[in-house]
């Protein structure tokens, strides 16, 4: 009987060779679709208004959000470095970058916590407020979950035992965090900047 011996094959693989990376990609497709639909809802509701935007966000809240975006982008860059370290399977830089990304995530969360009570309209003010808060809420949940995951990973990297598959897992985790960061940029532009540059 002929055989195909797979004994010598490696037990981990990086990037798109890893099945979990495809799982994460699908998760990103699902969540990305959700964000895209929220953007559609925003544009749809906008067409119902004669003047846009019906309320202003307020300077303190806007500034806080800018800080949040800055922290998110910085954490995205750090996460990219973390992914590179994971590809090289170097423990020390993985520890450092994951911890740093977690801390920057916490800064972003703190900025959001500061921002929310200072927004000058509520979700039940009108449809504009509903879509604004709905989108912000959904994304904040993602930031919360992503930062939590980064934190758990950082803890795992410090406590051990670190298995051979963990760098790949870290890559996938980083991949997802990059989505959380990047998906916010167009939504931020739509929710916060569009009203400044394209009022009606």
């Amino acid at each position: 009987m002929r055989t195909l011996d797979v004994r010598e094959l490696p037990s981990t693989a990086h990037g798109a060779r890893d099945p979990l990376s495809w799982g994460v990609l699908m998760l990103i497709a699902i969540e990305g679709m959700l964000f895209a639909l929220l953007a559609v809802a925003w544009i749809y509701v906008r067409s119902n208004y004669d003047t846009w935007a019906p309320q202003t966000i307020g300077r303190p809240a806007f500034t806080a959000e800018v800080v949040c975006v800055g922290a998110l982008v910085a954490s995205g860059v750090v996460e990219l470095l973390g992914i590179r370290a994971a590809r090289r399977e170097k423990l020390r830089p993985m520890q450092v970058y994951t911890t740093l990304a977690t801390l920057l995530g916490l800064v972003a969360i703190a900025a959001r916590v500061y921002e929310l009570p200072r927004i000058q309209f509520r979700w039940d003010t009108n449809a504009h407020g509903s879509v604004f808060w709905g989108t912000l809420f959904m994304h904040s949940l993602h930031v919360l979950a992503g930062t939590f995951e980064n934190g758990v990973f950082a803890a795992l990297l410090f406590l051990g035992p670190v298995e051979k598959k963990h760098p790949t897992d870290l890559e996938n985790n980083g991949f997802y965090w990059l989505f959380v960061v990047l998906s916010w940029l167009p939504l931020f532009a739509l929710l916060y900047l569009e009203r400044l540059f394209f009022p009606k």
Binding site: S11, M33, A127, K165
Partner: protein, 648 residues
Amino acid sequence: MSRREKYRALALEAEAEKILVEPDAPRIEVLRNTWERQRGFIGFLKEDHHTELGRRFLVTAFVMFLLAGLAALLLRIQLARPEHRFLSPDLYNQLFTVHGSTMMFLFAVPVMQAFGIYFVPLMVGCRNVAFPRLLAYSYFCYLTACVLLWAGLFTNTGPDAGWFAYTPLSGPGFSAGKRVDVWAQMITFSEISGLGVAVNLIVTILKHRAPGMSLDRLPLFVWSHLITSFMVVFSMPSIVAASSMLASDRLVGTHFFNQAEMGDSLLYQHLFWFFAHPEVYIIFLPALGIVSAVITTSTQRPIVGYLPIVLSMIATAFIGFGVWVHHMFATGLPQIGHSFFTAASMMIVVPTGVQFFCWIATIWAGKPRYTTAFIFILGFFVNFLCGGLSGVMLAAVPINMQVHDTFFVVAHLHYVLIGGMLFPLLAGCYHWLPKLTGRLLSEPLGRLNFALIFVGFNLVFFPMHQLGYRGMPRRVWTYAGDRGWSSLNLLATVGAFILGLGVLVFLINVARSFKRGAATGDDPWRGDSLEWTTSSPPPPHNFDHLPTAAGRYASWDRAPDQPIVTGLRADKRELLVTNLLDAEPDHRIIEPGPAIAPFFAALITAITFIGLIFTPWALVVGVVLAMFALIGWFWPQGRPNELLEEQP
């Protein structure tokens, strides 16, 4: 060579094979122990193997089918004669809503996914799905959806705004109480489950195929599930968005769909149908996969037009995303919208037609065996064609406006869904249940089953076309005797009971097969795909040796010495990962194994979203609890596998 020498050589060959195979016997015992099903109640909650979970999905979906079918019988009794007072209007509303919601969300989609969960890993030749814990989690979420909806009905909190729960009727202004909230959260659970299963199937198909099974050798059934799962991924977020917005309008006073505060009811319809039209294809495409599989096996020849069929399914999936507005022709769209969506809706005929002709050509060129499964496929041809034709009629705006929201639409959708999905599904049951149970279903009972369902189905739904023409609105509780609808309604009710009898015969047939069904052996139909190369039912590890594929019909194309995969560990749940296009062996991974965490995660999901029916604070509790559950899910347990060289 003399005959004696020939026999001697054969005997030597057999002996040599024995030597090769025999040392494996203890290894297969280890393999069996490694993959053994979990025992006891806790084991039940921890189980994460696709065959066991596929069976659970299948059984649960059939229970839902029976319950929703019983609801339909009650509705038919109510409509059997004019001015009937069998059900109260309120209960009638709840029953038709729960009937529709159950059939669409808790039966049709999950039952097709159940077939995928059970058979896709077997057909691609691997030992489990890519993410078994996610699959377990998905099952418990699905179960929660079922229990929630039906517990709602039995406690007089059954949703009553129709299966698409249009606003403003379903909004806080017109639907007080918690009925619509039950519906919205049922949607959440069933969509979480659907998405989890879809992701699982996609990654299993893309990364865990048997070596040699390149994408162009994928069985058509597996193709249908791959395409469907992508549709699930891109369409279900839309209904999640719609139902979440509806729930938040009702719970925290948002105005997504409140016209008075610049929200928009039509936004709800767009979001709903952007999911729900693709959903029709999510239900229908796996059925096409079943049709292709049954026809291939029944005619014992390669399918005609493999590539056109695959491309047609992909085309259907794409076009399926561009036709949702034909459900909204009566909402006052601009003319260009009418034209575009009419054209798109009619265009879908093309890929469907291509598949029909490929199947007909296959049957024509082969010598079909008229098994019950095959006869159900013939039933599918006739009934689905009727549904397709009334679909072409509905795609034309003038007719659509005339029969909008009448029984004509009810007739059309049942012809498409029962004709296009239930007939192939029952064909699939007759074809594959022997693989699940090891027992054949009775053929004479099968024929009776087909006859009753075919006649009953056409008696219920064909008259509804006429009722629609005569102006009978759908979802109407009762009607006056002078409208000219009475006799057709009575006929439909009689048909419903014949249809019900057909389903009963099916149940009897299945129950009987457990006791008295003939043993099937591994391959009762001489099937073409890999599930027929293992025992019936499959062992806990699916295959003693992972197979390889030499052609499009992996079971038929096997060489006498077709290679098997060796070198995977037997003492751990190890899977082979192959590459995306050519399925060349790439690396090995060890599955995490059964755990209780997915059950707890599902429990927390249930607490959170059922809590959200009553208070927004449930979300806060849910997020905190979910964090703990996720740590339990992901944190490495037990003896670590291969360690990284560097350690903290």
